[in-house]
């Protein structure tokens, strides 16, 4: 019974990690930008969702309707923020060194952290109604919230949608072309600028979506953006930057490792994530999934 609980815990945490890190890896894969502001997107999504939930339940509407509003609200906020950042700042810096881009996104992260504080203040928010409304299930001897269990399904759906989008739609194939060789893509007439804008917006949307989905279960406090970045980085680096399949494997690895650590060796819980990252990098310097395939996504 014990091991099944650990596996389920691992799965819940992995699905959360996956949703958080897909946006990051997508942006890197296409634009070669390691977006540190991804943490701010997460925070913006969470705060937006919390605000919407607050307004919604204050008006006393039916609980099951709230899901549509706060999730789409978070996604919308992410798209807007992504567009503003991309058109406003990143556009100026295209072509720069990768590390310079990290510094640019780091600067944006710092600025956004304070902007979030201005808009939403320093007190914490919570929006627990959607979380508790779905009830709980008794599995393997203990209770789990249905919300967390549904999140596993949601993560799977997001993964499938992304895969379909990249591999089966026309735009997805354009993306793959741009990833593999940007210059030839331009020569072939692909509007790379448009591709960049859409990718960045979608990547930020995914980050905000992660924040929005997580919001009902936590207390949303300032600084949550910075906390999340390290975790997202570790997962993405382990799986291989730019690979969504890698993000999946990375999340599973880290999620399971953490679940085992918490249940069996709580003392090492603090290092698990960095330990796994250092270990993977030492063995496969570019992450698990990158050298092996030619196609990255």
């Amino acid at each position: 019974m014990n091991i099944l609980v650990i596996l389920l815990d691992g799965l819940v945490y992995s699905s959360w990690l996956f949703i958080v890190s897909t946006g990051l890896t997508l942006i890197y894969g296409v634009m070669r930008i390691l977006n540190m502001a991804h943490g701010s997107m997460y925070a913006i999504g969470a705060y937006t969702a919390a605000t919407i939930v607050g307004i919604y339940f204050n008006h006393g509407f039916v609980p099951w309707g709230s899901y549509f509003f706060f999730i789409s609200g978070a996604m919308f906020a992410g798209i807007i923020a992504g567009l503003l950042i991309e058109r406003g700042i990143l556009r100026i810096m295209y072509g720069s060194d990768e590390v310079i881009m990290i510094l640019v996104t780091y600067a944006i992260l710092l600025i956004l952290e304070d902007v979030i504080k201005f808009i939403w203040g320093v007190e914490g928010y919570f929006a627990y109604q959607p979380y508790t409304y779905l009830g709980r299930s008794h599995i393997f001897g203990i209770s789990f919230t249905n919300y967390d269990l549904y999140l596993i399904i949601v993560a799977a759906i997001i993964g499938v949608i992304l895969w379909l989008w990249l591999n089966k739609t026309r735009f997805g194939k354009l993306l793959i072309a741009v990833i593999n060789d940007q210059e030839i893509s331009v020569a072939m007439g692909i509007n790379v600028t448009k591709v960049y804008i859409i990718t960045f917006a979608i990547g930020c949307m995914l980050g905000a979506l992660a924040g929005g989905l997580t919001a009902p279960g936590i207390s949303i406090v300032p600084g949550m953006g910075i906390q999340i970045i390290i975790v997202a980085f570790a997962v993405v680096v382990i799986g291989g930057l730019g690979s969504i399949g890698g993000a999946l494997i990375g999340s599973l690895l880290v999620g399971m490792a953490r679940a085992f650590a918490v249940h069996l060796f709580p003392q090492i819980e603090l290092f698990v994530i960095y330990g796994v990252m250092a270990l993977v990098l030492a063995i496969r310097p570019h992450g698990l999934f990158v050298r092996a395939k030619v196609r990255k996504i």
């Binding site: 014990n2 609980v5 650990i6 389920l8 815990d9 691992g10 819940v12 945490y13 959360w16 504080k117 320093v122 007190e123 914490g124 919570f126 627990y128 979380y131 508790t132 709980r136 001897g141 203990i142 209770s143 789990f144 919230t145 919300y147 967390d148 997580t214 279960g217 936590i218 207390s219 949303i220 406090v221 300032p222 600084g223 949550m224 906390q227 953490r258 679940a259 918490v262 249940h263 709580p266 003392q267 819980e269 603090l270």
Partner: protein, 449 residues
Amino acid sequence: MVIAYKIDVKLYFIIKRRFGMNFFKRSFTVFLAILIGVFFTTANGFSKDTFRLGIVTFLSGAAAGPFGIPSKKAAELTVKELNQGKVPAPYNKVGIAGKKIKVVWVDEAGSATKQVEEYRNLVQHKKVDAVIGYISSGHCLAIAPVAEELGVLTVFYDCGTPRIFEENTYHYVFRTGLTATIDSVGAARYIVDLKKNLKSISAINQNYAWGQDSWHDFISALKDLKPNIKVKTVQFPKIFQGQYGAEISSLMMKPADFIHSSFWGGDLEAFILQGDARGLFEKQIPIFTCGEASMFRLAKQMPKGAIVGARGPFGLYAPNNKLNRWFRKNYISKFGTSPTYPAYKMVQAIFGLKSAAEKAAMKKKNFTQEDIIKAFEYLKFKAPSGTVSMDLGKGHQAMQGIAYGQYEIKNGKPTFVNVKWYPAKCVNPPDGMKSIDWIKNGMKGAKCN
């Protein structure tokens, strides 16, 4: 200052003549310009009519919401009322010994090294007469020696580590807040009194100094009282982790009678939300040693029967005296919410300082800082939390008792039931003995009746 300016100017011309105007000289002049600018922005020294009080607390960051902001509110309220002389006796004199109080705010956010720099700025650049502040134990530990070095009266109001006065002796540093020892010892005594056949305990604390120390003191004290206690699972998630799925599963797999937690802020709120949603608290009673700070925000979510601590006789545990009534009435009408323990502790610090200063003023009209310090040592003063005795740490550390109770909503309002009060000598070590040794040796000499 003027001499330095003249030297600067002379050097400037010497170098200009020798090397000519080139870039390096420009950077040098920029450097000089900064220095000169700096001299002219130095703040004025204190005037005879105002008492410049530096207050350091979390104005941003995760600790702002539950601790810093209530502290700030309480300080603003108290200073305003004091400056108008509207506080009931014995604090009805205006300001501090007749001088109106002017507050200089400093944000406590940032590392200890940064805080040391800010403190030096506050004292040397802004020239405050005294400093009240510090929630983070790490900051208190770093600031205390600097306060001694600079010789400025500094009153810690919230940080909990007993190490400050147990490992060192300070002349300029006081603490009107209570040590974290009483939280842990009080909680251990409470659950032993509450449940006669107490068998097992679990814990979930943040993995940093506060969480580690809280757990260690608590389990040591508990083992003194119940040597056969079984420890089921001890979780130490990273601070600000926010998501406790696996930890809650672990706590549910190995159920215990009580779950000890020194969680605060967003982590506490998230833990309560997630635990509640999964029914964690239906069979295991949680102990939230500093839960009172979030109690009113979480009024609907706090589990019924949860053991909530306010780190002393604060909040709803405070006695019904005149000062408490004044404080609650004004705080609630001004801010719309009940004052929590950080607010109480801030008021306590200000009243302690005022009390010491006015005691010094009674003896000497032109009192100095040294007079205030002499008056502050072993002082007994009144606060909304009752009488505060500076009896530990050679007269520099406040000593009070603590109460614990169980949370319940009655008539739509949060209250405590089954409240038990533990007097000061029951939960504090004797002066001169380290808390950790006292607990290890069975808490000898505790006077609990």
